[in-house]
């Protein structure tokens, strides 16, 4: 069942289309990773989902309700953490957490102190004295202490240290195990790779690819390193082979997933001594979409 449903979402600022037809779903009990560089439209999408911005076109629904019209009803069941947490300098962290929990209403869990401890936050300090990471902790504690059905995180760990990042990841996994859904927008691709069931990649206001990590991997290339008894010839004549590098008797190259079979058949003729294959990382995927737009078009044609 889709907890969150975005269909053909468009948002215009003046003449500029920040979103140009975004489509994706987040299903129940699923962690959905939302990745893309700055300015691609991640935060704009999230702010429309929160009913803070009004969509120019298209629909954004959470729990089957309209994100703009039924904002207050929806918000009783969600928890949100922005990437840039700006707090009131003269309130303490503890006061802000209480305020946030209270304003959310809905289900209250009394886990505030537990999460303050887990995130190692001093709630008696004024927000003015908090670093970026500590302000994020305030928002995270308030979010996890709420017993929400859907969590929306917009680059929540950008100021946290590796230790706290792990605490965050553990908290997200616990939420998932409790059957909650999560929309996680992040720059930290290793984090998305580790946590997310499905991923959507956004570029210039459009989702250009979405699916499970293994589905996405099929769309891309595998890295192979091969050592053969005899030198491999005519490798570059095969379809879907890229970045061939030869060093002594070792050849490394990338191969399109659908050409893997043909490539392995070809090289096996030369007597394989060693064969290493590595699946593409999310970073490879991401970079491929962003760095080599032209190459992608060419690869698709071959």
């Amino acid at each position: 069942m889709a907890m969150l449903e975005v269909r053909n979402l468009k948002k215009q600022f003046g003449n500029f289309y920040a979103l140009n037809g975004v489509n994706f779903d987040v299903n129940e009990g699923e962690i959905f990773g939302f990745i893309g560089p700055n300015g691609a439209g991640k935060s704009t999408t999230i702010r429309i989902l929160l009913g803070i911005l009004k969509a120019t076109e298209g629909t954004a629904k959470i729990f089957g309700k309209d994100a703009w019209k039924d904002a207050v009803d929806i918000h009783r069941r969600i928890a949100y953490v922005p990437g840039d947490v700006n707090l009131w300098p003269n309130l303490t962290g503890g006061e802000v957490i209480d305020l946030f929990i209270k304003l959310r209403g809905g289900n209250q869990s009394n886990r505030r102190d537990e999460f303050i401890e887990r995130f190692d936050l001093d709630p008696t300090k004024k927000c003015r004295t908090y670093s970026k990471g500590n302000r994020q902790k305030v928002a995270l504690v308030a979010a996890f202490a709420a017993d929400a059905d859907l969590y929306i995180f917009d680059e929540p760990t950008s100021g946290l240290d590796p230790l706290m990042e792990q605490v965050f990841q553990a908290c997200v996994m616990e939420a998932k195990q409790a059957g909650k859904s999560v929309l996680l927008s992040s720059h930290i691709l290793s984090e998305v790779e580790k946590l997310c069931d499905r991923i959507g990649i956004i570029r210039q206001g459009e989702i250009i690819e979405s699916g499970t990590l293994s589905e996405l991997r099929h769309l891309t290339r595998t890295n192979l390193v091969v050592e053969t008894k005899e030198p491999i010839s005519a490798l570059h004549e095969l379809n879907g082979i890229y970045n061939i590098e030869e060093k002594d008797k070792t050849v490394s190259f990338q191969v399109d997933s659908e050409q893997l079979d043909a490539a392995v058949k070809h090289i096996s003729q030369y007597g394989i001594i060693k064969l290493e294959s590595a699946p593409p990382t999310l970073e490879d995927l991401f970079m491929r979409y962003y760095e080599n737009k032209d190459e992608k078009a060419a690869g698709g044609a071959s």
């Binding site: 803070i52 700006n86 009131w88 309130l91 957490i97 209480d98 304003l103 008696t124």
Partner: protein
């Protein structure tokens, strides 16, 4: 040793000058402008000795002495009058300049981590504080000369060279002293906010100490640096000893600040910050409670300010008759009405000005909505189960209540001080009625502010323009014989002139309805627009 501690002081001083190349000149020329414009105004408004003596007469009461200090009232020349009315307040402004500039270049830079980068370079430990004090001393010296020669250049008979230079030196001396005070607090406090807070508290305490000392004519004033300021009596006795006192005390404070800076760690202070609350009180846990909490300090400060303004106007009510009789210019501004005293005729004009002034805090309070929006903090609330209308209504409610409280405090201040100095005191209901007659006009201004916030957030500053227009059209308009319709373009132009006119309820109702319409439009607008951030 001291040389290595202050290595590159000159370079840092140049950096400060570069960073403040607009800020410092603005302060200096702003202050100098007011210093020279006032005696010109006094010289034309109170041209004859008779008029000045009448003014001196109004100064002979404890309220005025508490406010501006003592003076040679029997020899009230334009020079004495300028020094009496302006020197103390200008010195406070100069003190404020020093406080803000010193805090900016010491604790603020330290708190923001800029000083850490500077200190990682081959720069002396005490270079920054001494560069700051060097620049401030220079700026204040320049200010002293600018004001001294500026006043002398006016060529007003009673303002000789010595008095003028002393006037300037007093301002400069006060500025240098408060630079020293702030430099010490910048060492004691751990935050920029604390530094500014403690320093301004010192300024206020100095003022109050002097007020108490002057009224009781005791040595208490001699404990206050602002007491020393009034003791110079420029253009009368021309006493120079307070200048030496100011500079001497400043040097001691500079040394103390250097010592404290030398013995502490970067980022540390001497006054411990006590931990804040671990939990939010139930009061805080709503959009309304939060908005009130955020505006608490500003609201209380404005309330005290409006009360004080009311009191200061009320305290001159006793001498108004004689004062107006001597001053044609002011008499001209009042509508001649049979059967009412001049004081009573003065009331509506006074409340018009106060009503415009009292509209500032509620508009600021409403504008806080935009401020919170721009800082991305409304997002925290709207992302939770808080509707836009609920949030907007909180600010609406606070602004309306704020305006009511401000007007009430002003009326209370004015009435109570007037009751103390007048032989036949006003009835409170008369004064309060005259004040509250302006409340519907104020509501129109608040409504307009809310309309802009809801519908056209980029245009919110236009309210200030309209408020300023109201002031010029109605207050100065009387002086320059601006046509009537110009005043009618402002809601304040329709308010009945209580107590010389009777209350016009239809006008009040129409103004209130207009205010409600604006507010309703803003309320509908906020439901539709994007929340920026």
């Amino acid at each position: 040793m001291f040389r290595t501690l202050t290595n590159h002081t000159g370079t840092l001083a140049r950096l400060i000058l570069r960073r403040d190349r607009i800020r410092i000149p603005l302060w200096l020329f702003g202050i100098t402008f007011f210093t020279v414009i006032i005696p010109i105004a006094f010289d034309s408004m109170y041209a004859s000795q008779q008029e000045r003596d009448a003014m001196a007469e109004t100064m002979k009461n404890p309220a005025m002495i508490a406010m501006v200090g003592p003076a040679d009232l029997d020899n009230y020349t334009t020079g004495v009058m300028t020094a009496h009315n302006m020197l103390l307040f200008t010195a406070i402004a100069v003190g404020l300049m020093s406080i803000l500039l010193v805090a900016r270049h010491t604790r603020t830079d330290e708190e923001e981590g800029r000083l850490e980068m500077i200190r990682s370079l081959p720069v002396g430990k005490l270079a920054n504080i001494n560069a700051t004090l060097l620049v401030l001393a220079g700026a204040n010296l320049f200010l002293a000369l600018l004001n001294g020669f500026g006043l002398y250049a006016l060529g007003i008979e009673s303002m000789d060279l010595e008095g003028s230079l002393l006037y300037g030196a007093t301002l400069g001396g006060a500025g240098i002293l408060f630079a020293g005070i702030t430099a010490v607090f910048a060492q004691l406090s751990e935050s920029a906010r604390g530094t500014i807070g403690y320093s301004i508290a010192a300024l206020i305490i100095a003022y109050l100490l002097r007020a108490a000392g002057d009224v009781s004519d005791s040595a208490l004033s001699l404990l206050s640096p602002l007491g020393w300021v009034t003791k110079t009596e420029a253009y009368a006795k021309n006493a120079w000893w307070p200048i030496f006192l100011l500079i001497g005390a400043a040097i001691l404070l500079f040394i103390l600040a250097n010592y404290l800076n030398a013995i502490r760690d970067l980022g540390a202070g001497f006054i411990r910050v006590k931990p804040g609350k671990k939990n939010a009180s139930p009061f805080l846990q709503s959009p309304l409670g939060l908005a009130l909490r955020l505006q608490r300090t500003a609201g209380i400060s404005w309330g005290i300010g409006m009360l004080a303004i009311g009191i200061s106007y009320g305290s001159v009510m006793g001498d108004l008759e004689s004062f107006f009789a001597e001053n044609e210019l002011l008499e001209q501004m009042l509508v001649a009405e049979e059967g009412y005293t001049l004081t009573e005729q003065f009331i509506p004009m006074l409340f018009m000005v106060l009503g415009i002034l009292a509209a500032i805090p509620p508009i600021l309070s409403a504008h806080k909505f935009i401020g919170e929006e721009k800082k991305n903090r409304l997002e925290h609330l709207l992302a939770r189960a808080v509707s836009r209308t609920n949030l907007f209504s909180s600010y609406l409610f606070i602004a309306i209540a704020n305006g009511f409280i401000m007007m009430t405090l002003t009326a209370i201040g004015l009435w109570s001080a007037a009751a103390a100095v007048m032989e036949e005191a006003f009835a409170f209901s008369a004064v309060y009625g005259a004040a509250m007659a302006y409340y519907p006009a104020m509501l129109v201004m608040i409504g307009l502010a809310l309309f802009f916030i809801g519908c056209l957030p980029k245009f919110t500053p236009l309210v200030w323009l309209y408020l300023a227009y109201s002031f010029f059209a109605l207050y100065l308009g009387r002086l320059f014989q601006v046509p009537d319709w110009a005043g009618k373009l402002s809601p304040y132009g329709h308010v009945p002139q209580l107590p010389i006119e009777s209350m016009k309820w239809p006008t009040a109702i129409v103004l209130t309805v207009i205010a409600a319409l604006f507010t309703a439009l803003g309320w509908m607008g906020i439901k539709k627009r994007d929340i920026e951030g």
